[in-house]
Symmetry: C2
Subunit: 209 residues, 2 copies
Amino acid sequence: MATTDTRTQILDAAEHLFAEHGYRGTSVRAITQRAGANLAAVGYHFGSKSELMAAVARRVVEPITAAQCAGLDKLLARTPDPPVSELVEAFAGPLFDEMPAGDEGGARTSRLIVTILSDPAEEARSWTGPAEDSVRDRYFAAFARVLPGLSPEELWFRMRGIFAVTAVDRLQVHQQPSPGCESPVAGDAARQWALTFLTAAMSAPPNET
Amino acid sequence: MATTDTRTQILDAAEHLFAEHGYRGTSVRAITQRAGANLAAVGYHFGSKSELMAAVARRVVEPITAAQCAGLDKLLARTPDPPVSELVEAFAGPLFDEMPAGDEGGARTSRLIVTILSDPAEEARSWTGPAEDSVRDRYFAAFARVLPGLSPEELWFRMRGIFAVTAVDRLQVHQQPSPGCESPVAGDAARQWALTFLTAAMSAPPNET
DNA sequence: GCCTCACTCATACGTTCGTTTGAATCATTC
DNA sequence: GAATGATTCAAACGAACGTATGAGTGAGGC
């Protein structure tokens, strides 16, 4: 059907261009041109550029959130006190695994996520839904249980750290590559490095308050 | 003198607005209006909007880089093999300390740094100079010495992690505040949390290659 | 055959953007 | 106090932006 086709091609083009040039750096004209669609198609299918971005964000973030949720369910079904390393893996792993095929080792999708979360425009707040908050809160409770000495504030800090490391690591594609080491590296290695890095960090002794 | 005054007021206004709304989200008109200057003053004093951003970036990043450099000098003057915790503090500490007065606990400046480093535009690559690269390479060598089992690739990954945690932590100001904990938290606490978090992460055993 | 509906199309509207221009103003020097 | 060089000013330029409009197209139902 031609309808879904155009819609999907606009979504694909927008996902690519938003990841590459940011929200404001991508024009509706560039999106429709890449999609082989008419300029007005964005307005027809999505209503506005901002709503198109929301649709793109939903499509990218949803499988990640779902995998995080399923991973936690599976973990807690086994024991209420899973090891920190497994909690970290269930939370951060999907950020490496749930990347669409054809992505450059997840780098493009990572960039898109950073774009979504770091855009200062207030309209960006509506690009993600309440499902992410719910999952985040559930992981917070699980971490709080297995890291009892940690104040809520410091635990929030550490969870933001998880997100920062996983999401921002592959952002440096924008930068000149580090000498002697091209980034992004192979996804599997980065995944393992991140889990090691984050498990140690989460397991650090709490600061006395 | 009126010259430096206008120039400085434009720099101040630009720093504020770039941090709050990003590079593309800030218009030259908004900057000059906030600075109480004429629209053409940006062109006269800086040449273009992009060069103004470069000047803003230089003014913010320079003291941080200088402090990082001085901290490493002081550390290495004492011993060639400093503890990981002190290397982390020398590298990440200035990102908390070298914040201009009047900033909201460094949150605004942190946001500006994230804006600079995450902007997808290719002109953003010229906003920072070679001094940052030099400092980064020196820290890389120091970390490599005290963490001998780590491959260069994994060490680069971890150093990017340091940056990610320190810079992105306070980014979440854009987001809705985490329930039960407003962010940004008091700067001193966040500084300590970050150093604990990152020292543990950097000290994690290396992955076999 | 024709109506209906979903969709695509070329085109235009109004706004905002970064930059430029040339005259006006100011401080300083001789 | 005239000349000079630096700075500020109001105004305008052309380009690019997001969005809206109304005609056009084609398949499916009656």
